[in-house]
């Protein structure tokens, strides 16, 4: 019976993403609190002695199972592979702006694209392709590309970004890239053409 209690507690903690208080475990298993405390202690020892892949811990909010720290490298290899679905046009544009102008702020990206850049920038941040790089003098968060960005695009350094001459619709203009992008963006957004 009490061996069964250990197993049931293991099941319950396996299913709970958050730590569970011993009282809640006692309620769910219809066992007495001291019984539950004893079973938890035995389960913890058992997992440790048998050198299993799980560790039982008591945290502030209650008891929780976690994976063994020794498995972390393998876990990273299995679960932390970069997510690389094809980039949407909004993501490509946002990433291109960050790549060529870095560091660049979110309001600037929005001005250049003529539309809100919120969700595309958020996705790039979450995937770790773009990272924060301090704040502008006006307090806006600045972005730059990450090392992961270089890897995913097969670049050794930012120097290897493609030369823009090939893609520039009016290469005769000699102004700075940032100025020209902002001007084109404002023309797109407001229609106020110079």
């Amino acid at each position: 019976m009490s061996e069964r209690l250990e197993a049931t507690l293991e099941s319950l903690l396996f299913l709970s993403p958050q730590p569970v208080a011993a009282e809640a475990l006692a309620d769910a298993t219809e066992a007495e609190l001291p019984e539950v405390m004893g079973a938890l202690e035995r389960l913890r020892e058992h997992l440790e002695l048998e050198r299993r892949g799980l560790v039982l811990r008591e945290l502030a909010g209650g008891w929780t199972l976690s994976s063994h720290p020794e498995a972390e490298d393998a876990a990273r290899a299995l679960l932390s592979r970069p997510r690389t679905p094809p980039l949407t046009p909004a993501q490509s544009e946002t990433l291109a702006i960050v790549a060529y102008l870095q560091p660049v702020s979110r309001p600037e990206i929005a001005r250049i694209r003529g539309v809100n850049a919120e969700s595309a920038a958020q996705t790039l941040l979450e995937r770790g392709i773009v990272v924060e790089a301090g704040r502008s003098q006006f307090g806006a968060v600045l972005y730059r590309t990450s090392e992961l960005f270089l890897r995913l695009f097969g670049l050794r350094s930012l120097e290897e970004l493609p030369d823009l001459a090939e893609f520039d619709p009016s290469p005769e203009l000699r102004e700075e890239l940032r100025e020209r992008l902002l001007r084109a963006g404002e023309a797109r957004a407001g229609g106020a053409v110079p």
């Binding site: 396996f14 299913l15 993403p17 976690s66 994976s67 972390e72 876990a75 990273r76 290899a77 679960l79 932390s80 592979r81 970069p82 997510r83 690389t84 980039l87 046009p89 490509s92 544009e93 990433l95 291109a96 702006i97 790549a99 060529y100 250049i112 694209r113 995937r127 770790g128 090392e147 992961l148 890897r151 995913l152 695009f153 097969g154 670049l155 290897e160 970004l161 493609p162 030369d163 823009l164 090939e166 893609f167 520039d168 619709p169 009016s170 890239l177 020209r180 992008l181 001007r183 084109a184 963006g185 023309a187 797109r188 229609g191 053409v193």
Partner: protein
């Protein structure tokens, strides 16, 4: 209820549903002449009538079991009816559509049609049995729950070591090229500058109002479309400020405009004897 018990009274046929099927399949009744909607209505009537017709059910556990059993039979009969009526509808619509060969138009091979209906019924039975087996499987699995938890924070960041070059840097150059393209200036040459202002039309309407009531036609005599629109706008302004109101007895009829009884610009007088 059994489907056998369904009695029909249609324009072209009176008798049990089963017999209708047989006669259709033997081409003794032309499917094109059977109003299938009436068959469906008869069936629904039959279903609704049934509880009153049935003998009083025994009470207690036995009664509950009997009722439960009957409901199960109903479900079976209902499935069968639905499958058959759907198949008949399809056959009928096929008969109504000209086929590739002209003689396909009215040709329904009774043997084939019967086989098709039978196959439909068998399929319905098969998939219902398969569905029951799936339900059982799902119930048997109920005790096997899976963990659903977010990854621990240290595993959530993508690891650089496992990154391969999957994206083409040229997409970035191309995106910048798109962003550098200036939009074509908006061509405004087809628009004419409005020559009439709301203020002008307001003062015209006020002048007309001072002379008494007038029709909208009078206010827009010989005016172009823009002027008509601006005049209407001015009239709405007058209505909003309480200076004028209008009546129109019928749609597209003449609009009569008159000053309101209590001009709002003399608010102090409102309520005092006129």
């Amino acid at each position: 209820m059994r489907l056998v018990d369904l009695e029909l009274d249609l324009d072209v046929f009176a008798g049990p549903f089963d017999l209708l099927l047989t006669l259709i399949l033997r081409e003794e009744i032309d499917l094109l002449e059977v109003d299938l909607a009436d068959v469906v209505i008869s069936y629904i009537d039959h279903l609704e009538r049934r509880p009153d017709d049935s003998p009083v059910a025994p009470s207690g556990e036995a009664g509950r079991r009997a009722r439960g059993q009957r409901e199960e039979l109903d479900l079976e009969a209902a499935t069968e009816f639905l499958v058959l009526i759907a198949a008949l509808l399809e056959l009928k619509s096929r008969l109504m559509l000209p086929g590739e060969a002209p003689d396909e138009l009215v040709d329904l091979d009774p043997g084939e049609a019967a086989e098709e209906l039978l196959e439909r019924l068998l399929d319905a039975h098969r998939y219902r049995a398969a569905a029951a087996a799936l339900q059982e499987r799902l119930a048997a699995e109920a005790g096997h729950r899976f963990r659903s938890a977010p990854l621990p924070p240290q595993l959530r960041r993508a690891s650089v070591a496992h990154a391969a070059a999957v994206y083409d840097p040229r997409t970035l150059g191309a995106a910048i090229g798109t962003l550098l393209t200036l939009p074509r200036p908006v061509d405004l040459s087809h628009l004419t500058v409005p020559r009439v202002t709301v203020a002008e039309r307001l003062s015209l309407l006020r002048t007309l109002l001072r002379r008494g009531s007038f029709s909208f036609e009078q206010a827009i005599e010989r005016a172009d479309r823009v002027t008509i629109a601006v005049t209407l706008f001015a009239l709405l302004e007058l209505y909003k400020s309480g200076e004028a109101t209008w009546t129109q007895d019928e749609s597209f009829g003449p609009i009569e405009i008159a000053a309101t009884a209590w001009p709002s610009d003399v608010a102090g007088r409102v309520g005092s004897p006129a």
